[in-house]
Symmetry: C2
Subunit: 213 residues, 2 copies
């Protein structure tokens, strides 16, 4: 994984990060419009890091949709720079049932799309992946959980750090209660704050925020 | 200008808005990572409107850079929907001097790029334009001011509402002081909050947030 070379001061990182995914990356339902990505970058700003946040979540998109457009959008923001990074998070829409009761994307198609994204991203930029969250729909959540575990295996093979947020979000009243009190699919700001803290404390994220030795 | 047809309740608008521009749209320097676009959508959320914010600001981009990529990014987010909208704001980077002391983009090239964007955007989506702000650099600010006034005329011809924020931001201690205390080009959150309030109170924006009669 390329190490960002543009650092500010002894322990402060300056990076431009593309957060690529679906409505959970957009932060749908967050009353501050920050989402977990904005909350995470704001927390790191308080710690002295200078992060430019490019929020490239698009509501409703599956892994396949994202595979088609992520690279052009990342290149428009990061091409020619040495301070870029990629944070991926998607999958929940793949598992949603269509009118015929079938998932919008079959498991193998989800994994194929994810593998294509990982393969390109990791050779160009420091890349991290956050697993899809539970969204309070038993049928699709069951499929998303299977996908999430397969994504973890795929990331392990590709050498991309993967953070599962499934268990801690299922245990989080702010996440699950926020969904129940919200639109039934998305939490409010308190739920996204929990997710931001999970990423903030993740060793692979902390490595990204650490000055080189 | 097409009127968004997807409304929630009597006076609440549900829209997906692409904010397209440069680092001032990104919200560079805002310690909350909201920028004016996030602050504006959060304010409207408090008023009951359900806005999805797609922040498509890219640091350093000129009008020409934006003309090359805005449409693909907007289509990825709004294609096939009837609740989309476009908010444009750029120009400050066009006026920055290159190594030879010339602006990165000549006035006519800026206006040509802007006209291309306006022509396509206004036929597909409700479209608004916010003028570029002063950024505390006398030389480039003088050129940006000329460009800003020419953009206003262009928008008037194209039937796209244009908001000049030049005078109120020059008068704003939060904007100008924030730039001086920040990186010398971008304000902090208090400055972006001033800009958000200017847009919030703009009659053309209020029209977008108004239910149809």
């Amino acid at each position: 994984m390329p190490v960002p070379s543009h650092r500010v001061g002894a322990y402060h990182v300056r990076m431009r990060l593309c957060f690529i995914g679906d409505s959970y990356v957009t932060g749908t339902g967050d009353e501050t419009c920050q989402g977990w990505a904005g909350r995470l970058c704001a927390l790191e700003g308080q710690a002295g890091h200078d992060l430019t946040l490019y929020n490239l979540g698009i509501r409703g998109q599956t892994s396949h949709d994202i595979a088609l457009r992520w690279q052009g959008e990342a290149l428009a923001r990061l091409h020619g720079r040495n301070d870029g990074g990629i944070v991926l998070s998607f999958g929940a829409n793949d598992a949603v049932a269509d009118a015929a009761g079938q998932p919008r994307l079959a498991l193998q198609d989800s994994l194929h799309a994810t593998e294509r994204i990982l393969r390109v991203a990791r050779t160009r930029w420091p890349t991290l992946m956050i697993g899809p969250p539970p969204v309070g729909q038993p049928g699709s959540d069951r499929r998303t959980r299977v996908l999430e575990q397969a994504m973890a295996a795929l990331c392990s093979q590709a050498g991309v750090p993967f953070l599962s947020v499934w268990a801690p979000l299922l245990d989080s009243a702010a996440w699950c209660g926020g969904i129940a009190q919200g639109d039934g699919l998305h939490p409010g700001g308190a739920g996204y704050a929990v997710l931001a803290r999970l990423v903030q404390g993740w060793p692979a994220w902390r490595d990204l925020m650490a000055a080189p030795p």
